[in-house]
Amino acid sequence: MKSLKICIVIAAVLAFAGVSLAGTLDDVRAKGFIQAGVNGGVFGFSMPNDKGLWEGLDVDTARAIAAAVFGDAGKVKFMPLTAVQRLPALQSKEIDVLCRNTTQTLTRETTNGLNFVAVNYYDGQGFLVPKKLGVNSAKQLDGATVCVLPGTTTELNAADFFRGSGLQWKPVVIENTAELNKAFFAGRCDCLTSDVSQLAAQRSVAPNPGDYIILPEVISKEPLAPVVRHGDDQWFDIVNFTVMALIEAEELGITSKNVDKMLKSELPQIKRFLGVTPGLGKALGLDDKWAYNIIKQVGNYGEIFERSVGPNTKLGLERGLNGLWTNGGLMYAAPFR
């Protein structure tokens, strides 16, 4: 009889545990912080610095979401995930949002049950090779051994590229980025393939960064964007417009330094954006000061870019595709009205 009782209790607990009616915003508010999935170590995108503080473009995107929701960019906890772990972690609600240089694809949007918000970095896949290999085009890589991370679009693009070009290759697939880098720098592979921004990051941690070059070919489109789960439109809107707010602020010329001054601006679009004219924050289910908090505490997209991956950092990446649309880039925010 005792075992029967236990069974019934377990079943009842499971029945209630399985049903969670609250949306992600309510869950996040209830626990008091946002759990963000990030990359464990890509310099410029997400990596702890020598003081143990997370730094990078993806990390700051997650901070911006916390600033929008709580008015406090510090209310976010980072969970480093490998490429293989990241999607299941989001699907199983271990994390609320994934800000981990993840490429938007049709399969991930549909059968994986995920939604990508606005892109926070436009990338493409390239090849990193040691200079002494004497190769200056990816077309010369016939017979090469290639180091690649598993569970990425990179792995698929490389297979497509070599198959399409009729070249032979041999992948070495290691899940841990640090282990993969070690194997590549020790010469286990002839080349390393990944998104160009990541190659730049990986080169920056090489024993002798000058010994390596990134080949000119870019073999794919990699729109990297934060990801949320299917079926929670409100949370999707919040994350989506957080990214857009970063871009919009740059376009409006609002920075973390002048945002307080901008509160007194007479321009109607700035007044709406910063919540001086109320309405936009409430529509998202947030405080009207949400965008003000983001810019004040994290900065606009341009500021984040410059301090994370820009020309004055170790990565030294140009804005290029990631410039504002007004400067010939692809960064374009939907109107804030």
């Binding site: 009889m1 075992s3 029967l4 069974c7 019934i8 377990i10 079943a11 499971l14 029945a15 399985g18 490429a83 293989v84 999607l87 299941p88 699907q91 399969t107 991930r108 549909t110 059968t111 994986n112 049950g113 995920l114 290999l133 890589l141 016939d142 017979g143 090469a144 051994t145 598993p150 569970g151 990425t152 792995e155 698929l156 490389a158 297979a159 497509d160 070599f162 198959r163 290759w169 041999k170 992948p171 070495v172 697939v173 290691i174 899940e175 841990n176 282990e179 993969l180 070690k182 194997a183 020790a186 010469g187 286990r188 002839d190 789960r229 299917h230 079926g231």
Partner: protein
Amino acid sequence: MEAVASEKIPFWLNPKIRGIFYQAGVICCFAFLAWYLVSNTLHNLEKQSIATGFSFLNKESAFEVGESLISYSSADTYGRALIVGALNTLKVSFFGILLTLLLGTLVGLSRLSSNWLVSRLAALYTEVMQNIPVLLQLFFWYAVFYEMLPSPRGALNPVNGLFLCNRGVIFAVPEAHAAHKFMLLSLGIALAAAFFLRNWAKKRQATTGKHFPIFWVSAGIIAGLPVMVWLFFGAPMNMDMPALKGFNYKGGATLSPEFIALLLGLVLYTAAFVAEVVRAGVQSVSRGQTEAARSIGLRSGQVLNLVILPQALRVIVPPLTSQMLNLTKNSSLAVAIGFPDFVSVANTTINQTGQSIEGVALIMMVYLMFSLSTSAFMNWYNKKTKLIER
């Protein structure tokens, strides 16, 4: 008396009926839980619009696998990619188990040696290897490979046709020839002949007491028959020599650093445990047995074969089985050093299709299958070696 008792006890107090009732209750609970878990999972997956089912197995995988025993390209299906992974797991487990048994037995017996140095060295080996986590050992062997060995252009070439570099061990193999098929066939025939010969010799010795030098005759047949076939075909000597071409060696056969590191790590680690099992087995046979065998005039080889081993194996086989299973299961650590075993391929599949539940179910099924068939074989062997009391 009996009639009265059965009248007095109502059926709900009858222990037999109560027992059946409880068992039925437990089964119902279990079925309900199983049904609940499955239906709840399906419901949740549907709510998140995550695909379910195994139809992805027939879709194009679009990813490449580093090494494969069968032909495979990224144009093949997920199903085939998973078979490639399963075969890689089998390959490393099979060779791993063979080498572990050899090394483990050697170390275990060495530890019992009367030679102080040999027994101390064996003890040192056992203690060190047993107490370092196998994952660390894998990282170590892998790092040894890519850090210590030169690039293909400066490969070590200790003997003609053998190259050591950070792309692996590349060695010459005999060029494909029609003779090989027949040599393999003759080897099979020789093995069968040796088996029958052994049975015949045993029977003869049991009835007439005449001894037959079975070991040397069998060895002669097994080695001699394929060599005769080889000579008959004109002794083809052409070798497929590896040569540096572009980035890598073409020709010959290659053992990748990942495979060697995994094999080394697993074998050295598990052999330490097997050594202890073997030692325990041999020590479980009392000294009196050896002395008695010697006293009736058996030679030391016969003492081992006819007296010690049959008794020691009874103790050795069951824990040995679990060490074999451990090795097979530990081979899934391959993922850490990039050997494309089943878990590695399944992980990639899970990630590209997003169907983790199906993927994990496949992983569990495959390992369960490997483990159950290993233990079925070992149980059969165990039954055979069990002491048959007369």
